[in-house]
């Protein structure tokens, strides 16, 4: 039976859409993975000496002291990121497999997850270094295996508490309290947990206990999993309770209002677009890298404009870049309904403008770094609204990657999103304002530089109509290609 499962897994891995990227991209990814492996290995090997050089006489004891927080952090990461092996089970249910087989295979599959073996990059070299440094061999074996079992416990505990937000957050709260009370010296949890972890080393036999715990947790997870293996139980897809919303105040805008209403709902109700908004919120803090003067290579004044553009342009770049792909799921409707492209694009444009203005207001905290820092943000916002808003929509017209609104796949970018045309359009978006600023800065004064960029932004508004006409004609020209591209589900 397991043979079938493994063959299916094999196929699902190699036939996954993300796997079918081009060779160059894959090589790049492999290098990325190797890089992280190297970093972790270096950390594992180096940490012993790092800790010892910091004045700790026994690094193993030091690690044991904080192990409880490491484990808690691991559980937190798993809860947030590790996916449950739920969806692939559905087609198996009515095939002649025994439920136990499905359950144990799914559980075994989670055991191979990256979240488990990633720790090996730290623990293996660390243990080997400890051995080299004269720690007892039996003790280290006991310690290593004991800790390993605890990480696997986390793996299965995560299955048990999955989607139980209340339980999870109360655990998290408890941990925060113990952390605080340790800090203030009221109660030190690590004193007790330390004894446990240290015992694996001093008394290697005790490691068996942690494996026993693991067996109990697995057994519980399997039972829990099996009891919920019904379509209306654990296999149910979570549904949101829908609420009809009107946004009556948008009615006065006519057709434009109808589109705006839809766009607001699109952003509110879909996972992918919500993630985009959250990410663009993070852009707000991008300037912190620049303005406190933290990084020397960013000293050049033109970089302030670079930062200003990004601080206010988070939404502009991450949302605007993918117009019209946001509507890819129902593009045939948009193309056959009584819709004028102009109104359709205009609504997206207003959204982008509004979000940029809002970002500029939220970025008021940059005043803390002096009025010049905020001026850079403000000027960046004006340039974003006047020039970049148009350019981003223009570039988007060439992107034909369907967006799956309900999943976060490819949220960090997609290779198809980078074609030559969109790359060329990045130049005027970012480099041009930096050049304009430099011109003013060196020719007259820094303030003149800012004034120049702001003026360029205002000038951009004048070209709105002609740019929109251009975008409209691209939409029409590329209509059939776009429709076809959006049809491809993967």
């Amino acid at each position: 039976m397991f043979r079938h499962f493994i063959r299916l897994q094999w196929k699902s891995f190699f036939r996954a859409a993300s796997f079918k990227t081009n060779l160059a991209f894959r090589i790049l990814m492999i290098f990325g993975v190797l890089y992280f492996v190297a970093v972790f290995l270096a950390l594992g090997v180096g940490s012993f000496y790092l800790i010892r050089d910091a004045g700790v006489s026994d690094p193993l004891q030091w690690v044991n002291r904080y192990m409880i927080y490491y484990l808690a952090g691991d559980l937190y990461m798993r809860y947030m990121l590790q996916r449950m092996p739920v969806m692939n089970i559905r087609p198996m249910l009515y095939l002649p497999f025994k439920k136990n087989e499905i359950v144990y295979f799914s559980l075994a599959k989670t055991a191979t997850s990256f979240f488990n073996w990633a720790h090996a990059f730290f623990f293996l070299p660390f243990t080997i270094v400890l051995w080299k440094e004269g720690y007892s061999f039996e003790g280290l074996i006991g310690w290593h295996l004991g800790i390993m079992a605890l990480f696997y416990c986390n793996n299965f505990i995560n299955i048990l508490i999955n989607n139980k937000d209340k339980l999870f957050y109360s655990l998290l709260g408890l941990l925060a309290i113990t952390g605080l009370s340790q800090y203030y010296g009221w109660f030190d949890l690590t004193r007790y947990s330390f004894e446990v972890f240290n015992m694996f080393y001093t008394l290697p036999v005790t490691a068996i206990a942690s494996w026993l715990v693991l067996v109990i947790v697995i057994w519980n997870a399997a039972r829990y999993f099996k009891n919920r293996m019904y379509l209306d139980g654990g296999l149910q897809i979570k549904r949101e309770i829908a609420k009809t919303e009107d946004f009556e105040w948008l009615n006065r805008l006519g057709n434009l209002g109808s589109f705006l209403k839809n766009d607001i709902k699109l952003i509110k109700r879909n996972k992918r677009s919500r993630t985009t908004v959250i990410m663009s919120g993070l852009f707000l803090f991008y300037g912190l890298v620049f303005f406190p003067g933290g990084i020397d290579s960013y000293e050049h004044p033109a970089w302030n404009i670079f930062a200003g553009i990004f601080v206010s342009g988070g939404f502009l770049f991450s949302f605007g870049q993918f117009v019209p792909s946001w509507d890819s799921a129902y593009y045939p409707l948009i193309m056959s309904q009584n819709i004028r492209y102009r109104e359709y694009i205009m609504s997206k444009w207003y959204l982008v403008i509004f979000a940029t203005a809002l970002s500029a207001v939220l970025a008021l905290f940059y005043l803390y770094f002096g009025w010049e820092a905020y001026l850079a943000v403000l000027v960046g916002a004006i340039y974003n609204m006047g020039v970049n808003s148009h350019l981003v929509l223009w570039g988007g017209a060439y992107i034909k990657t369907p967006i799956h609104l309900t999943s976060n796949r490819n949220v960090l970018g997609d290779k198809q999103a980078f074609n030559v045309k969109t790359l060329l359009l990045i130049l005027p978006k970012i480099l041009l304002p930096m050049l304009i600023y430099g011109l003013g800065h060196y020719w007259i004064s820094p303030v003149a530089g800012y004034a120049f960029v702001a003026f360029a932004g205002l000038l951009g508004f004048a070209f709105k109509n002609s740019v929109f006409r251009k975008i409209e004609s691209i939409y029409k020209k590329e209509k059939y290609k776009t429709l076809k591209a959006y049809q491809q589900k993967n």
Binding site: K261, K265, L266, R269, Y330
Partner: protein
Amino acid sequence: MIQANSLSKRYGEKTVLNIESLEIPKGESFGLVGNNGAGKTTFFSLILDLIQPSSGRIFNNGIQVNKSEAWKPITSAFIDESFLIGYLTPEEYFYFIGELRGLNKADVEAMLSGFEDFFNQEVLGQKKYLRDLSKGNQKKVGIVAALIGQPGVIILDEPFANLDPTTQIRLKKIIRVLMENRERTVLVSSHDLIHVTEVCERIVVLEKGEIVRDIKTSNETLKELELFFAG
């Protein structure tokens, strides 16, 4: 109303549609039948200018569909779920379509009240987004949305599929009522020969992209079709 002249669609070597001439007059209920891959959806997609013909032209109300967009206000369609906006509730979707067709909320509500039977209390006020409705209920929404705003041409691809028997019967009634004043042209495709023969006054059979039968519906039509498809 709809006119196709030497229309063809090829993908590489394969010709998926080849219609020498087809005219659908105003006020006709037109049925399209054929096995999978016969070219039904291709034909509808061509009328809606969602794909480009390899040769030939299609006119809708005298407007060549890939040259001007003036046919859009008078035409509506429901082909598949890509005509639904998944993250809207059914109500919001109807209002949206209504707004595009110049109807306000009250107009749309008045129109929807006539479809209470058809919805069978499974569509409106369900606190569900369209993406979470069952296939059958999604279809109901798509069909009713295609009727909003009194369009002159209504194109429904496989409207009977996925509907429960009661709803199928109600849909047939709705189509008959639509045809009453001879103001509208309705194009329907179906795999169900009984349904098409009941609601359509003219039935065209497609096979591998070619028109092989063009029948004015009579009492013998169903038998004739069954004989044809029996091979």
